[in-house]
Assembly symmetry: C2
Homo-oligomer: 421 residues x 2
């Protein structure tokens, strides 16, 4: 049996006809069906008959039996009505370098074939839709692409996706996940995943992360999640709330951690069990809604001893500034009059802490109180990067920005789990 | 028995005469001896006879029997030759608000009396010398004060201190500890400590941290250490290498953590045992040396998506720039030509990662290689804040700054403990 052969598959009480794809192995066939969807077939569990050898030419660049309709829209045909439909959206990065494998050109869409060719283990878990929003290394991610990504997610959910997996480079995944968490009200899971090690390396995490993300996208947690290795082994992926997660290691596969709380849940790779240990928004609890506008003119400044006050001049005229202060939310006293001027000129200034864990509290020490008197807003325990994204969003979408920055909109600001005393 | 009484104390095989200080309690006397040193006396273990009631007037502002010599120098008289001499240097902050309790004026020196009045538990552990280098909240710490602090530490060691405890606000303790680690070669321990909760709060950590820091300063680890609570209980303090430590929580008493490794050791509060679990520089291994000059014109910039490139304009003409990049050490591609211009104009640009854990490695992805081609120096797993301090030091004191930033000078850059594969 070879790629391109037309086959009939008998498995349990179902019979399919389709074309064998190149991602097939001796143990595992991937068969493209008439509707454009692919199905993975375990040879041990199915009887396969070749109907026509070499019925289709497969060269890897011109995909066989593309799922695209004639008008170029992704097919919405569901192959297996017993399986949910998961939309895979690629933005680039290490994981997409596997899935979106067609060399060179950025393609606007990719199909289930591409997905299954790259990650055969995805077969049989869902019906897949695929699209490409960007093809960039994630350090080049920019707020305008967050908007495009949010719109793409909305379209996929409107088109019937039961869950969305966003493949994203790991460098800025936490910023993008936070952006979508603020932009979208979602009735289904939106799961970011990526890869710390590319597919050509023996320790690659791409397959397990992709499979786990699909399982999470099938779960009943209708939030924006990040799904990445939860340990150094290949046993579980952790599910992190998109607004509370941080890449805490440059290279480890379990680099992503929820800050200030346990992770929301886990995906057990062996048993394919998705479990949640904390409360979350249930599938279907909210209707789909989108507010994708962002104020781009927001900066983040990390204060360190000896910082040049001129950095504040760059912020002059900006709409917003996140300060990553020390400890409970402090900066050098000399900077406070300048910060007050910025606020008087209309810049919204929000304090976070470079400690990353714990809440800012500027009522304890003199310099903190001076900052509050100057009009600085405290962001509680919101992570600095999340606070930047949130302020960009709140400046466009909140009637009361100070109230918004002091309130949890998408799980980014926790009730004080560790009391401050 | 009241403060001001002149007493004779018989304890074991020693007899002292001195004046009872106000820090005394029913169970515990603090007695100022003729030489200016104070001794703590457990009433259960000593016979105390009042020689003259109210022999001295004590009002808390005019200290009795100051240890200062007539020329204003701190006394070097050792009271108990069996005990080491520990120098306590105050820079301000929550812990010093206890010890340096005289309200209002900044005093240039404080004496053992002040220390023991505030923290009676320090009695009997060492002979104490005290001095004030600054009296500031640590967010106001600046590089020039690091130099003064390093000079003060040098003077104390030259004057015979067997160990130095630096009392410092917690906000910027890690930066100051790193500065001293680069500036000083030390034959004795230099131990930073502070307090996350002030003395008037039931959960204050000031006593345990101060006592543990003194015990660490008596140990044989001749490095710059940070000694703070090692857990949420009052059981152990952790000892962190000054260049690898970070305040990772805004309010918890165990906020300080060693990044990328276990902490160097612990002080068991109950047993007063100092233990080290990793290699360290032994007491007396090196001679005292100081190189306190810093290049102040060094900035740190944290890259986040959407960052205004104008922040790089502020750096124009600066001697050094630390970038806190994403992941393995990346920034948006559009910034690279500007960074290259800075380097061509003479700015030393060093890459670190906002992940905090793990090494930067710019040889993996295109944008990283472009940064290396532009002349960016990789700082391994050096923490961003430590890298800033190090670059300030290296620009003044290293013949080859690139080599210095790529090499461990004071434990700040670890051999790769987690292999990158």
């Amino acid at each position: 049996m070879n790629p391109g052969d037309r086959v009939r598959v008998d498995r349990e009480d179902r019979t399919y006809e389709g074309v064998v794809l190149p991602s097939s192995t001796d143990d595992h066939l991937v068969v493209k069906l008439e509707g454009g969807y692919n199905v993975g077939v375990d040879r041990d569990e199915a009887a396969v008959e070749v109907l026509a050898e070499g019925a289709y030419e497969i060269d890897g660049t011109d995909s066989v039996g593309s799922e695209d309709d004639e008008d170029g829209e992704a097919s919405e045909i569901e192959f297996d009505e017993d399986l949910p439909t998961i939309s895979l959206i690629s933005t680039g990065g290490t994981i997409a370098s596997t899935v979106d494998y067609r060399t060179g050109a950025v393609t606007a869409q990719f199909d289930a074939e591409d997905v299954l060719r790259a990650v055969p283990d995805l077969a049989g878990r869902a019906n897949y839709r695929g699209r490409v929003v960007a093809n960039i290394l994630s350090e080049n991610m920019e707020p305008p692409i967050w908007r495009e990504l949010a719109e793409a997610v909305r379209e996929e959910i409107e088109a019937g996706a039961d869950g969305v997996v966003v493949m994203h480079g790991t460098d800025t995944m936490q910023y993008s996940a936070a952006a979508l968490a603020f932009m979208l009200e979602t009735p289904v899971p939106i799961v970011f995943t990526g890869s710390q090690r590319s597919a050509d390396r023996p320790s690659s995490d791409n397959v397990m992360n992709a499979v786990s993300a699909v399982e999470a996208a099938k779960s009943d947690c209708a939030e924006v999640l990040v799904c990445m290795h939860g340990s150094e082994s290949d046993d579980v992926c952790a599910l992190h709330r998109g607004t509370r997660v941080r890449k805490n290691h440059t290279s480890r596969r379990d680099a992503f951690e929820t800050i200030g709380a346990e992770s929301l849940g886990t995906v057990d790779y062996e048993t394919e069990t998705v479990e949640f240990r904390r409360d979350y928004q249930q599938r279907g609890d909210t209707d789909l809604a989108i507010e994708p506008e962002l104020e781009d003119d927001v900066e983040l400044l990390k204060f360190t001893p000896g910082m040049d006050p001129q950095f504040l001049d760059v912020v002059e005229g900006s709409e917003g500034l996140i300060i990553e202060g020390t400890g409970l939310g402090h900066v050098h006293t000399d900077l406070i009059p300048r910060i007050e001027e910025l606020i008087e000129d209309g810049t919204t200034v929000v304090m976070t802490s470079q400690c990353l864990e714990g809440r800012v509290c500027d009522r304890v020490y003199d310099t903190g109180r001076d900052l509050l008197d100057a009009g600085v807003i405290e962001a509680g325990d919101t992570l600095p990067g999340t606070a930047k994204v949130k302020l960009m969003w709140a400046l466009e979408n909140s009637a009361d920005v100070e109230e918004a920055m002091s309130t949890s909109l998408a799980g980014e600001l926790q009730e004080r789990s560790v009391p401050w005393e």
